[in-house]
């Protein structure tokens, strides 16, 4: 079955397209892209609503789906449904499940479950080390063969420099990146918030910026030594950004991502209006205004490669405790794109073209997965945005199993209109006028 998306504003940086362009879908793939495409009478024609922007599907390269092992927080089914509602056509899931994804059997189990229950594409990330214990390398060849697109011990750093060196050298053989959660454990200590004025006044133990940037510098040195690619997860400080910028300038294979909460919120929020809100507790923590400003500049300048959510679902009762006893992390799949449109595009920080690079082009490139453009014969993974439509964030309506978001009640300018995966419409936003032209949202593949 062919479908023609007619008259939409296509933003496809890889093809250099930023204007009214038709997209012809043939089943799961893109058949043609161009202005005023002529099609046969049996082709379903969808007139893209005025104001909507058609983009290559967004890929969230940092998500915790919690399955297997913590299905009370999230499952592959609910996490990917949330991803679809958030405009993502694919997610890469971190391996800190229970059991951790350090073997091909776990990878295959995730992919088999995803094949039946997932609404969007799922790309597993395997562990760097067996059991995520930081002692010896996982069977990375096996993980790669089973379908892992990267390796990471996310949630904790690769502890020793020697092991990180080995990981980079070994994973480099397969052309997959090592994604590191950069944190020097002894400096982080028992910290629960950014070390600065706010944490000091609230009596919260601090996590200094250097706890992150020391590890970023270490990883850059090792990437430079080995020539293998390293990807810095959820970068949060201006010092880290400065290190990445300098490394890139001298040709080191380093990439990095930032999370929407790190370009939206500062640590001052911890003091109110809801003080000690555990939905503001994440790792890395919310940083200072200067860090947020540096991240905004880094997004604009291209130092930052990707926006990734670090979607970390936790049940309400786990967060309904004293601040220092609450787990780190917030959900983010359904708020990332509205936040990006509101705080980046409408605020004049980024063009739509640059946003598509950060959410689609670069994640696909870093992970080496399909997507990132809508060239003919590529998968018909498409995100359709309604940049002018207002979004009211209501976590009670979330597709995720968890509700731990600090953005509940926020009003943002910019919405996802529809999400198409492999030619199938998997999400339609009823709030966006005329978005139903994209069809009824189908469930899991």
């Amino acid at each position: 079955m062919k479908r023609l998306l007619r008259g939409g504003h296509l933003v496809d940086p890889v093809q250099g397209i930023d204007g009214v362009t038709d997209v012809l879908l043939d089943g799961e793939r893109v058949a043609a892209v161009g202005r005023d495409l002529q099609v046969d009478a049996d082709v379903e024609v969808v007139n893209v609503p005025v104001g909507c922007v058609v983009c290559p599907g967004f890929i969230d390269m940092h998500v915790h789906l919690r399955e297997p092992g913590q299905e009370h927080k999230e499952t592959i089914a609910t996490g990917t449904a949330a991803a679809a509602a958030g405009g993502f056509t694919a997610v890469a899931c971190m391996p800190n499940t229970s059991p951790v994804n350090d073997s091909a059997s776990v990878t295959r189990a995730i992919l088999e479950k995803a094949a039946v229950e997932a609404t969007v594409r799922v790309y597993p990330i395997g562990c760097v080390t067996k059991g995520m214990k930081g002692e010896s390398l996982s069977e990375i060849a096996d993980l790669r063969a089973a379908g892992c697109v990267a390796i990471s011990d996310d949630g904790r750093p690769v502890m020793t420099a020697l092991l990180m060196r080995r990981a980079l050298e070994y994973a480099g053989m397969f052309g997959i990146p090592v994604i590191d959660h950069c944190e020097e454990p002894s400096l982080k200590g028992e910290g629960v918030a950014h070390e600065g004025y706010t944490a000091s006044m609230l009596g919260l133990r601090g996590i200094p910026s250097a706890a992150e940037s020391i590890m970023v510098e270490r990883n850059i040195a090792l990437a430079e030594m080995t020539g293998s690619p390293v990807h810095i997860a959820h970068l949060s400080t201006r010092q880290s950004l400065r290190a990445v910028r300098a490394a890139k300038a001298r040709g080191v294979r380093v990439t990095c991502e930032v999370a929407p909460h790190h370009f939206t919120l500062t640590d001052e929020r911890l003091a109110g209006p809801v003080s000690y809100d555990t939905n503001l507790k994440m790792n890395p923590p919310l940083r200072e205004r200067q860090d947020v400003d540096a991240i905004l500049l880094g997004l604009r300048a291209g130092t930052i490669d990707a926006i990734a959510t670090d979607h970390a679902p936790h049940q309400e009762d786990e967060k309904h405790v004293e601040f220092d006893r609450a787990p780190f992390g917030i959900i983010g799949l359904e708020t990332a794109v509205p936040l990006s449109l509101d705080r980046l595009v409408h605020a004049g920080v980024l063009t739509m073209r640059r946003l598509v690079q950060l959410l689609s082009v670069n994640p696909a490139r870093i992970l080496g997965v399909p997507g990132g453009n809508l060239r003919p014969n590529r998968p018909a993974d498409i995100t359709i945005l309604a940049p002018e439509v207002t979004t009211s964030v209501d976590v009670r309506q979330s597709r995720s199993k968890s509700r731990n978001s600090p953005f509940h009640g926020w009003t943002l300018k910019g919405a996802v209109a529809a999400t198409i995966v492999g030619g199938r419409t998997v999400y339609v936003n009823q709030v966006v006028p005329n978005a139903t032209v994209f069809g009824a949202a189908a469930g899991p593949a």
């Binding site: 004025y197 944490a199 006044m201 009596g203 133990r205 000690y276 309904h320 405790v321 004293e322 601040f323």
Partner: protein
């Protein structure tokens, strides 16, 4: 010297407001910290405490202000001084009181703080006096409780009644707070007493100097409008009051300084060091003291020490707080 000074515009404005905003009640059902109090509210508490102190001097130390009210003292962390002080204050106001310690609560069985407090609230108390090892625990409880919550010390955050009794003691002796130089020395990093005192003293117009090893100075604290130094002599020079903070021996495994011996040599308050202060300086300590660590015995027990006055005034200040939160302005507590 490691001086770090920043003007705090908001704090100065608050100080300027002291005489111009008369208030006769607190704005909230809770006392969570000094941060939430205006300078006028602080003055109200201190003024009310004057009347309450008179009650404690009577042969029959009891007034009916809180008759029929129930106060639950919830101490999730060990405390003798503060818990006793609150309990005496409650009894002098004729409240019905109940003490629950962490070791006897369901918390040890794994119950959450929220569930524990909801169960207590089901029995309709009027006020909860809470001490907890987690910063912000009282804010958390205040959001989910109908009862008023009084912070009796939360983690490393605040200990507002301690700061209020410290201020009461200084004001009682010096007649004012504005314009005084107060030096606070010791473990600044882990002290909830410090945070409350800094907020209060700056709001009330005092000049505050903090002194301790740089390893025990909280990041960014200069923004509060205080002076920070690692020179005791500089901090104490011309001071009207010197507050010593306890070196929390249980926390010192973190290697904040090489030894207690060296700490005392560099930072301990001795007669020689205190001689740099004003002749009528007040020596203060929130207790419990480590003699020979942060303070020499002859200073702690000397003629300038008001350490036991602080303890006595604690009852009056806590009576004032209880009265203002649960007694209502219609009561004449001291009558």
């Amino acid at each position: 010297m490691n001086a770090e000074t920043t003007n705090n515009v908001a704090a100065s404005a608050e100080a300027a407001d002291v005489p111009s905003i008369p208030v006769n009640r607190l704005r909230t059902k809770d006392l969570l910290g000094i941060a939430e109090l205006s300078a006028a509210e602080i003055s109200l508490v201190l003024d009310t405490a004057v009347a309450m102190k008179e009650v404690s001097s009577r042969p029959i130390k009891k007034v009916p202000a809180l008759r029929g009210k129930t106060v639950v003292n919830l101490f999730f962390e060990p405390s003798t001084r503060t818990r006793t002080s609150f309990e005496i204050a409650e009894k002098r106001l004729s409240a019905d009181t109940l003490n629950i310690a962490a070791s006897t609560s369901s918390v040890v069985k794994g119950e959450t703080l929220a569930d524990t407090v909801h169960n207590i609230e089901a029995m309709s108390p009027d006020l909860l006096v809470v001490r907890h090892s987690s910063s912000g625990a009282c804010h958390f409880l205040a959001r989910i409780c109908r009862s008023g919550v009084i912070n009796a010390g939360d983690g490393m955050h605040e200990h507002p009644t301690q700061a209020l009794l410290d201020a009461f003691t200084i004001r009682e002796r010096k007649g004012r707070l504005a314009g005084l130089k107060v030096a606070i020395c010791g473990d600044l990093l882990h002290s909830r007493v410090l945070r409350s005192n800094v907020l209060l003293l700056v709001k009330m117009g005092a000049e505050v100097w903090l002194c301790g090893p740089p390893t025990l100075v909280p990041t960014g604290f200069g923004r509060t409008g205080v002076h920070i130094t690692s020179s005791v002599d500089e901090a104490v020079e011309g001071a009207d009051a010197i507050m010593m903070l306890r070196i929390q021996l249980e926390r010192m495994l973190g290697g904040y300084f090489p030894s207690l011996r060296e700490y005392f040599n560099v930072f301990g308050m001795t007669r020689e060091r205190m001689s740099r202060a004003k002749p009528d300086v007040l020596i203060m300590h929130p207790g419990p003291m480590n003699r020979g660590v942060e303070i020499a015995s002859d200073v702690a027990d000397g003629p300038y020490s008001v350490i036991l006055d602080q303890v006595a005034n604690g009852v009056a200040v806590r009576m004032a707080i209880l009265y203002l939160l649960a007694g209502g302005a219609e009561h004449e507590a001291a009558a």
